[in-house]
Subunit: 430 residues, 2 copies
Amino acid sequence: MKKINVGIIGFGTVGSGVVKILEGRSSLLSRRSGVSINIKYVCDADLKSKRPVKAKNAILTKDAYKIINDPEIDIVIELMGGIHPAKEFIIAAMKKGKHIVTANKALLAQEGKQIFKVAEECGVDIYFEASAVAGVPIIKALREGFAGDKIEVILGIVNGTCNFILTKMTKDGASFEAALKDAQLKGYAESNPALDINGVDSAHKLVLLTLLSFGRFVKLSDISVEGITDISANDIDYAKDFGYVIKLLAIAKLSGGKLEVRVAPTLLPKDHLLANVWDVYNAVLVRADMAGGVLFNGKGAGSFAAASAVVSDIVDVARNVNSGAVRRLPEYYKNQSDAVLRKISEIESRYYIRFSVIDKPGVLAKISWVLGKHSISIASVVQKERKLAKVVPVVIMTHEAKENELCSALKEIDKLNVIKAKTVAIRVEK
Amino acid sequence: MKKINVGIIGFGTVGSGVVKILEGRSSLLSRRSGVSINIKYVCDADLKSKRPVKAKNAILTKDAYKIINDPEIDIVIELMGGIHPAKEFIIAAMKKGKHIVTANKALLAQEGKQIFKVAEECGVDIYFEASAVAGVPIIKALREGFAGDKIEVILGIVNGTCNFILTKMTKDGASFEAALKDAQLKGYAESNPALDINGVDSAHKLVLLTLLSFGRFVKLSDISVEGITDISANDIDYAKDFGYVIKLLAIAKLSGGKLEVRVAPTLLPKDHLLANVWDVYNAVLVRADMAGGVLFNGKGAGSFAAASAVVSDIVDVARNVNSGAVRRLPEYYKNQSDAVLRKISEIESRYYIRFSVIDKPGVLAKISWVLGKHSISIASVVQKERKLAKVVPVVIMTHEAKENELCSALKEIDKLNVIKAKTVAIRVEK
């Protein structure tokens, strides 16, 4: 049986999970892959900290180039994260003919175009199942499972931290701050949670899902990204009254030759397939023109869920190496679609709008007059009586309207002297 | 670019969908597969009926051996269904070195062991994504996506007809007969719906899901199969009162070195991931020890959903042929587990039990005394007052109990003179 040597760069949470599976299940993995997978090196800047596993037969090193320059290494597994020096390590390894397995979504979203190009030039495989919804083989499904389909829509809940926070706010009535603190206590959120809650982590994953679904490498800067920091408990309550829940969605849609790619908190009807994905769970709903709607739902992160994805990639690449089928799949980034990007101002949507108004006669008339002027038609209104407050919320659900008209209308409305705080608008998805 | 010639046997609903995709998307498929896929033949016993597509460049034939014996054919696509002569065609084609793509779950469930063995001996690929939950790449996911995992449980709603009928009964209060008639009117059920409603179709799919998940080829005769014909509107109502819905589940579980494989109507808590899969939709919940719980949800059947699965298989095999990586995946049936099958009498479960009793004092005492004697402990009881009926239902939810004890208890109870009809027991899944 052929032996495949791997070197792991990054011996943290995910790295430890990968070592545990590769070492603990070597005979099972041999049966499944047809080869013997051997961890030759584990590399980390910190070799002193206690880990839950030992890499018994591996050489521990602080020097990634020991792995990169070893001609016996077949696959380099990059689990260190961050842009530099991960990018340099991966490129150097590919130039030495190593195949790559990585979980580094930020790196691929930012530098993927160059990295995939080098992989092609070097004739090596690069696999990245753990980079989005780690517990679910969604990367493989999008790359291989819909080969006869044109994908029309991708809707994803792809950040577990945000989904946990929104779950706490929705189910327990927690404030954003309390929910975030809880997420940090439980280890679901980093001490600096910015990338999660501002939507950028979701945007990283969306770049990769869009690439695989639409054959189009979208720049991060082309994605309209809104996080969940402005979502208030009020909005969640009002949404509930209308029969909706609020989720942070990563969205990519192709229609009329234009591709729309964005991350934003979104109202979903409470019986929507994605509306009942709670806590740290992630899910992606794919609408393909032949297969129909397909939901993938599972763990987005965690040591073993991510390690499961990394190991399935290692086995996949090992099968390629064993059967001489390296670069069996055509490169994603070259499978370009000619779709133009749709600007966020050009999209159409239904909207949930919350106005903060002075409680006096004629206010609703003023607001609805401005909305009407911009061809925004009202589907329903809720104004609750609040005896003690002088400023009261008026909540409106609109029919389908144009984003640019909505923005103009809200700009105009926010200048009215009856409006006492910035108006909140959240899109509604079917 | 290399040309791959395929021959399609079976020009029915799915065959027409496959022709439509292969002909209509040839350049897209070339980009995705790296080869040019050409339909050289389409074979069907009936060449006269109108189809929604024409196989423009294909040779139409009634003789499958024209395809099987043509040295230019790379892949034979079997979409005729049934055991004979599909089995003979597939085996003859493999012996001529052709790769196989099939949607034939009944054939693989019944004769798969022999067919996979011939594929191995002949060094050809056999792919069957369309054989279960066609719209969802679940076969690929189980075969490749959980390579580092041990799968613990598979729970599937894999028959769209049954799920449609149970949906009608649950949501609209329809009777079984009315719901079945509706399914037939909508084209969801065959005019002879026996294989669907008696659970056998689900068992066919379960054989394949079990093979891929547990490396074990279970005989159909080893699967305990119950259909939905005995489910009454009453049971659905009572289940709802307790907070449950009734679904026909295909179940495979590995625990304590024993593998439990069965098909049965089952109570699921109403917030269970599978409880909200309605109409003709299918879903499979996989619990893997590393990845965690993963739900796959999509269309189970239909011309284009099935064709989508068939085409993704064709592209997969075409990539193998193109990269010289035929038989890149180790054979499923050889990846045997040493788990013993658990007999249905050995399983443990919670139960929903509906007794039909005479409405007089002391009845519940008698029933609960027998249950207690068999170590079956009662979690809750509902007995609704029915003034006009002399026979009333008493519904009990039990705690975890042994199946053999339950059977003994019910045998004893059904002999009591206060019991007026056969007692109904349905298992409850967490």
